[in-house]
């Protein structure tokens, strides 16, 4: 599904990603953990096509296509979804209208007819249940005045509406209380299938108790320095990121 090979990227003169290698297959859930500033959001942004970041080396294949050649909207239409760490507000545009435009633009790209009002409403009702989001919230301007938790839930709702092949969740857990966290995780779990994949970026292993990953990677200083299974997350939680740093120092000195 996704194959990242020796990816380098940065902003202006600053190098942020320094050779990322990662392969994600359909049906898998990968978690990326790492301390603040290690480059997790940058990786998510580069994959989604944010132009302010410059890719200086490496390649990314997404479902066999050259991802880095595609515009951000085409990446989305090809099935890549990013749940933003900081979702933006768009005054005057209801979430309903926003997501309808998104769904129909994507359908247009795939040569499908736009969903009519009835079909759209039906789909929406169904997906609303998945993340227990309220109709009244969806009628309000997108993310305007939403609490942190509401914004994150709205991201997952949009994901459910767009049915992506690969969903990248960037710290969707931060700022959520335990109930909201359960709801979000439950939504993700219901959407999991053998045909799609998830890349879950998180700072804490708490989320991974609910969304159980197949693989865990530790991103540190722009590189994936350690990969393992969900036990790695527990180890990190127990020992803190310092243990990785120390381990690195040891290997570098050796």
């Amino acid at each position: 599904m996704l194959k990242i090979t020796d990816l380098h990227a940065g902003i202006e003169e600053k190098k942020i990603l320094k050779g990322i290698n990662l392969e994600i297959k359909a049906g898998e859930v990968h978690a990326i953990m790492g301390p603040n500033g290690s480059g997790k959001s940058t990786l998510a942004s580069v994959l989604a096509g944010r132009e302010s970041f410059e890719v200086t080396g490496g390649s990314v294949a997404f479902q066999g296509k050259d991802l880095l050649e595609m515009s951000p909207e085409d990446r989305a239409r090809e099935g890549m979804f990013l749940a933003f760490q900081y979702p933006v507000e768009i005054p005057g545009v209801s979430t309903t209208n926003f997501i309808k435009t998104a769904v129909n633009e994507t359908r247009k790209y795939r040569g499908q007819e736009p969903l009519d009002a009835v079909a759209f409403l039906k789909l929406m009702k169904e997906r609303m249940k998945l993340v227990q989001i309220d109709q009244s919230l969806l009628s309000r301007s997108l993310n305007e005045g939403f609490s942190g938790g509401e914004k994150k839930r709205n991201e997952i709702f949009q994901m459910a509406m767009l049915e992506p092949k690969l969903a990248i969740l960037d710290e969707t857990d931060s700022g959520l209380d335990i109930d909201a966290l359960r709801i979000v995780a439950n939504g993700v779990n219901q959407l999991r299938s053998k045909d799609n994949a998830f890349l879950v970026v998180t700072h804490y292993q708490r989320l991974l108790e609910y969304i159980v990953p197949d693989f865990v990677h530790v991103l540190y200083n722009g590189r994936i320095v350690k990969s393992g299974t969900k036990e790695l997350a527990l180890e990190l939680e127990e020992k803190g990121y310092d243990f990785i740093k120390n381990e690195l120092l040891v290997t570098e000195q050796a």
Binding site: S71, I90, N97
Partner: protein, 482 residues
Amino acid sequence: MYEENDDILGEVTSSEYKYGFVTDIESDDAPKGLNEDIIRFISAKKKEPGWLLEWRLKAYRHWLTMEEPTWPNVQYPAINYQDVIYYSAPKQKIAPNSLDEIDPELRRTFEKLGISLQEQKRLTGVAVDAVIDSVSIATTFKEELAELGIIFCSMSEAVQEHPELVRKYIGSVVPPTDNYFSALNSAVFTDGSFCFIPAGVRCPMELSTYFRINAANTGQFERTLIVAEAGAYVSYLEGCTAPMRDENQLHAAVVEIVAMEKAEVKYSTVQNWYPGDKDGHGGIYNFVTKRGICQGDYSKISWTQVETGSAITWKYPSVILKGDYSNGEFYSVAVTNNMQQADTGTKMIHLGKHTRSRIVSKGISAGKSNNSYRGLVQVGRNATNARNFSQCDSLLLGDKCGAHTFPYIEVKNNTAVVEHEATTSKIGEDQIFYCNQRGMDTETAVALIINGFAKEVMNQLPMEFAVEAQKLLAISLEGSVG
């Protein structure tokens, strides 16, 4: 109304000013230039009564003593008023007695503009008066309206058929001496619409006038008069387009509204005159005076405007709140792109007690354009408990355009409450990226964001026109981002 985004977005990719074509039809023109003979010529063409010719001449003589205003925040080379044709009428083979007899070429012109003059093809619930250059071509649904006592016809026809009403109200809200362009209009006005809603009648359909400039070197000077008697209600809409031409063309209209006790008039404009090209060549100078008077107690006048066209726009639809408890509203979206300039806003003049006004202005500037809001809220000595709320928001696309706000507040009664809020924002790269990430291209994203920004105003438009207006916003800003 927000369900129609796909269509809008499809349209966004179609480039250029859509209405820039010219109809090839012979016209009956006055010679270029302005003098008393020209005014006599126009008046004679329209077979006007003597009092109206005198009224025109008086306005003209006053205009000669006036100076063109320089206070608006717009720049343009001096206009040579002797280089303009003040009367141009398309020559029709026969004078049409019914809608079926209209010259097919003219019918096609309006059809290309999306205006059908065949009643059965019209949007239900909308009556149209179609004006091309200096004359009205056709008015639909006249008979149906007449049964309710509603008069909806061209101004020229009103002068013939209802001279007493015209004489009573013309110039009663905007006197010929009001300003330079109203004086000019009073001297040379050619056509426009006349609406009269008798007491207690609620007009069952939207009334609308479609203005089209076709002939070259011609100015359009229409004059519209709407009178709503006690308890009457009407919603009126005007739309305007013009061919693409390299030279600037002058449009100096006057609109007057009179609302008697408990009457309500809603006036909506979708202004899409040719804006000129990317480098600022050509386009319409849109210098317009619009004013309504809430004459009776509990009356209400509401202006809604979507201004996307014209090289220069200079207009301030205003309300004189004379009746106690009367209510004035101004909702505006003004879009400027490329080299366009707009100086627009409103005046709310509170004279009666317990009068209320509400101003919502949304300015959107892109390219190298300049967009100014200019508004006056005046509360007179006797206007106890007057209330005003003004919200003026500006949205910038790019960093070469300008947005300015000039609010003037004059309060002579200390019971008044006047509130003014203003914001300026930019469409953020992160907003566009967010939309991109959901599968929208940048044009679609911009259209969505600006329609959201303008929503409060767009919601005021009659349903039939809201979708058109949304598309227009998107098209006007095409190519301004990315």
